[in-house]
């Protein structure tokens, strides 16, 4: 897929480019700060080859705070449907909610260290590029047990919430089954129950993303 990368550390940016190209992706734009990222995305879209994914560091120049995250929100606003994977230093960011509130999917939020776990990182970017939602396990762990006072999540059983948490981390039914030592059929049953309890009708094609978004929205950091 075609990827735009924004990362202010030249070393890490180079490392990411080499890795992504090695596994067969095409880098169509690179940026070292937030304004460059916006330009790179605009240019890629203008040249009739819209990126399949934008990967951006949160903490970048010019202000070295959450410029990358704000740029990501900006990109989502200006070019709806461009998937964005955000890499952060920490669990909590002021604008994460805005990113996740975007109900269209195609967003990811991972802790930066995760890029070292290459296999799962590559899986995560595939999920996001396909319109899924991936949120870092540590963030999800932080979310679990923190819900608004009245929440549709209350209708879920403990097990179903665990399954939904793993879905939010971007796991497939297969990997969830492995994680929880369940059969895939059992996981599929839990997932079906989750969809039903969250009032997601079978004709909805993107129920998985919606379930995850509901989970994230109803949990507060």
């Amino acid at each position: 897929m075609r990827i735009v990368i924004a990362e202010d550390s030249a070393l890490l940016r180079e490392g990411l480019i080499v890795l992504l190209e090695r596994v067969g992706h095409e880098i169509v734009g690179t940026a070292a700060d937030a304004p460059e990222l916006l330009t790179a995305v605009d240019r890629a879209i203008a040249s009739q080859s819209p990126p399949d994914l934008v990967i951006t560091d949160v903490r970048m120049p010019p202000s070295h705070t959450d410029d990358g995250l704000r740029a990501a929100l900006d990109i989502r606003r200006r070019h709806p449907g461009v998937p964005v994977m955000v890499l952060s230093q920490y669990v909590a960011d002021a604008y994460v909610h805005d990113l996740i509130e975007d109900a269209r999917g195609g967003v990811g939020y991972l802790l930066k260290d995760r890029v070292g776990k290459v296999a799962s990182f590559l899986r995560s970017i595939e999920t996001v590029a396909d319109g899924g939602v991936v949120v870092d396990p540590e963030v999800v762990r932080h979310l679990s047990g923190r819900r608004r006072a009245v929440s549709p999540l209350d209708r879920l059983t403990e097990r179903e919430r665990t399954v939904l948490g793993l879905m939010a981390e971007g796991e497939s039914n297969t990997t969830i089954a492995q994680n929880l030592h369940l059969s895939e059929a059992a996981v599929a049953k839990h997932v079906g129950n989750i969809f039903a309890k969250l009032d997601l009708p079978p004709q909805d094609t993107n129920r998985r993303v919606r379930a995850v978004l509901t989970y994230l929205r109803e949990s507060t950091l």
Partner: protein
Amino acid sequence: MHPVVSVSAWTALRRPPWKLLASSLPWRSGAYLITTVLIGLVGLAPLMVTWFAAPLWAISLARLERLRVVVLGAAPIPEPPTGTAGARVGRLARRLREPVTWREVAYLAVFVVFTAMSFVLIVTGATAVMVGATTVLGIQPDAENLVAQSVASLGAPAGVVVSLVIIVLLVLSYLTTALALLQSFVAQVLLSEQSEALARRVSDLTYSRRTLLEGFDIERRRIERDLHDGAQQQLVTLGLRLALLEIELDDLAGHGSDVSAARRALSAAQDDVDAAVTSLRDSIRAIHPRVLVDHGIAAAVHELASRLPVPVTVDINLPQRPDSNLEAALYFITSEALTNAVRHAKAHDVTVRGGQEGSSLWLDIIDDGIGGADTRKGTGLAGLRDRAEVLGGQLTLRSPLGGPTVLHLSIPVPANPDLTERTTPDTGSDSNSA
């Protein structure tokens, strides 16, 4: 210093008369008052003419007067410290603005009164001595000797006159001693280093202590930035390179090569890199957490809470971000308190609340653990108290055996918002959520 003199003056005057008179004190007092009068008489005319320069006269007089108490057997009064560095003109201007200068001017005014009183005492004493001498020596009155004339005009018997003179001289020596001690006491009070100088010294020390702490915080942030932008990025990149190697090995294996040994070595290297990244991340967090710098105390405490094995309710709402060293203090105090709650108090539930009330920030950390915490035990809590006190704050701990433990911190915030570099509002618990 002056209490020492006043006490000794008081005891001197309460001594039996023969002891006082046998001591050197009345003589010293006489000498002190005579010099007072001499200085007064010499200085009065120039002062009258150049009254507008009274502060300068006062400064010079004060310098002399601090030394002159030596006549009474006291130690010289130390010169109060004044900011007298720098260019000559500026130095004088600054000296004139010192509070001690105004006390010196006050002393000059009082000195005039003392000169007059001393003058009266001395003239009286001199007259009494002359009357006595005239009587004892039997000097005959003549046209030039006014004293002898007046003595003769009294017509009193010589014995009565001499007794009266002795009584007058005794009373005078008491009055002289009292006046001299009083004047030196006033000199001590007005001319020595005063509470405002002490207060200034304390505020200087407080300032330098605070500056040192700020220096530490700045240094910590620099180290954190260096590690974060340098070593951490390099380690993560190293992890990526190893992952590339893994991909290449998979390729080789696909072509039928035996890569199992290489794969084991690589896997060990990857574990090492993971461990290094994790431990570096923990170190950086302990030195100065990035999230604190970027997003303020509420977000940083959320992040802190997310790593604890017990549920922590965080509710911190500040109208604006406090300055960075105050933020750091709040963070490290919370961090230590949370660690204590989990490690020592074995808490199952912790609440961190914070806010601003008027001009002070407050923070409560409440846990349902076993209690019994004491700021005197161990260095952790004592260190927190020091840290709060440096910022003018107060830390109170209530921790009965059996719990709950309530740690309350309140720290004044500078009234001047210019003191805080950043004006980004510190988002509260809800707006920091993800």
